[in-house]
Amino acid sequence: MRGKVMGSVDVFTPVLMGIMLGGLYALIALGLSLVFGVMRLINLAHGDLVILSSYISYAIFTYLAVDPILGLVITIPFMLLLGFLIQKYILGRGFAISSETPLIIAFGISLVLQNLNQILWTPLSRGLNTSYSHMSFFIGERQFPVSYLLAFLAGIVVMVGLRAFLTRTYMGRAITAASQDKRAAQLMGINTNRIYGYAFAIAMGAAAVAGVFLGMTFPFTPTSGISFLTIAFGTVVIGGLGSMLGTFLAGIILGLSQTLGGYLFGSASQMLIVYVLVLAILAIRPHGLLGR
């Protein structure tokens, strides 16, 4: 979001920063993409669920003194379970009413989470300030934050993991099948309601990872979710619905356009450039880069 250009100012710095930042954007967007692709739902609460994960990691880190990355062994199962329950007991019932209802419910969940986070953690800005999250690494004279590199690597791991899961396992194939043709999937013996629960849970597992690495990279407040939802939405739209690789590449395009936009035109206009690019890509390829 506030991608600062550090060290010496040649074009290599914003390029590498943009790629790494794009990995984080992709990481945030992967869960949104999965839910979008499978359930045809724009999960308006996605950003807030990512931020909720940041806060949970913050609590584990602050009160239990457990490193946030190690803390994922708690955060991921917690978010998996929360995702499954949200789909089963709240969104799933909305799907039974109409296709618009879950969208409104998701907006409601978003508002509830923002206020809940406000009450629990106050509106003050927090961060996952581990010993290594403010360290730098150097390429020549140029200095880069370690947290960006970690977020980028996490983005690759989650993207590759999700792809393997979706193409190699029975459950993953069932999720893919349900996303391509729901009726045919039902006729294959797939319980699509349960599959939606699993898909949402897995999306929240990815959100848990995103929350941790976001929290180590940027400070966050209870309302940060909205701006990350906007970026994730742009990423998903550019990448094409439900394509994990597309989402990842789109994240990098967004990250690069932001840092290069800031480098060329000043940081005030960098987000404007990102969204102009989103519109331009959509005008040329309405189904996204790797969309169906």
Partner: protein, 245 residues
């Protein structure tokens, strides 16, 4: 064919919202036979298959499979019992490979243990699917997609196979191939219930047929008898065409 009834539909009504698609429909399917469902568009053929598959539930009447009431079950439970549907328009998963399409056919727990065996059977039946197993399904021709849809249905290890609109949009030579495959499937003991628009062809291929008209059963019987039936000749082959080709 035996005299044992595998599927018994009794007096069902099925609604699409407020529109009644099926009126008091009764059908009996014998184990091991090849039964056809004939009728014009909107006669209710797909609705009938969907009611058996659990995609729609009857508001009245009963559907029994091997003596158990199944009218209220969900689609995935129906598949577990051994009923599979090859849907209209093939509906293969377009972005998945041929092999992945076949594997997803064996998703039901009841089918997974015979996955390898059934995959071999499908490849025997349609060698072209094995040649193209790494190919993405949407790149197949219409005929190959129909083979894939039928193969995917076989992967569910069914006792009863429902096939909607077998020949729609396919070339005659491909239709011949599909029907040959259906007879082989029947020979393995799987009961086949299919929907087909081509009455002439259907009456040659199936053992028995039911004719649906505007949601009601108009006629039924052995295909040999239906071919000679004056009403069928009048409705489907024209008044004076007494000879069925």
């Amino acid at each position: 064919m035996t005299d044992e009834t595998i599927l018994k539909i009794e007096n069902i009504d099925v609604f699409h919202g407020t529109f009644q698609a099926l009126w008091d429909v009764s059908i009996e399917v014998k184990r091991g036979e090849m039964l056809a469902l004939i009728g014009a568009n909107t006669a209710g053929k797909t609705t009938l298959l969907d009611a058996v598959s659990g995609l729609r539930h009857p508001s009245k009447g009963s559907i029994q499979f091997e003596g158990e009431e199944i009218g209220f079950l969900d689609p995935y439970q129906i598949v577990e019992l051994g009923i599979t549907q090859v849907p209209e328009g093939r509906s293969v998963f377009p972005d998945m490979t041929v092999l992945d399409n076949l594997l997803i056919g064996s998703y039901a727990a009841s089918a997974r243990k015979r996955k390898a065996e059934n995959l071999e059977k499908v490849y025997d039946l349609f060698p072209r699917l094995e040649e193209r197993k790494r190919q993405v399904a949407k790149t197949l021709s219409g005929g190959e997609q129909q083979m894939l849809a039928i193969g995917r249905g076989l992967m569910a290890d069914p006792k009863l196979m429902l096939i909607d609109e077998i020949s729609l949009g396919l070339a005659p030579i491909v239709i011949d191939e599909i029907f040959r495959a259906l007879h082989k499937i029947k020979a393995t003991g799987i009961t086949v219930l299919f929907v087909e628009q081509n009455v002439n062809r259907t009456l040659k291929e199936a053992d028995r047929a039911y004719i649906l008209e505007r949601g009601r059963i108009a006629l039924s019987g052995a295909t040999a008898d239906l071919r000679e039936n004056q009403e069928v000749k009048r409705a489907y082959f024209g008044v004076d065409t007494c000879e069925v080709k």
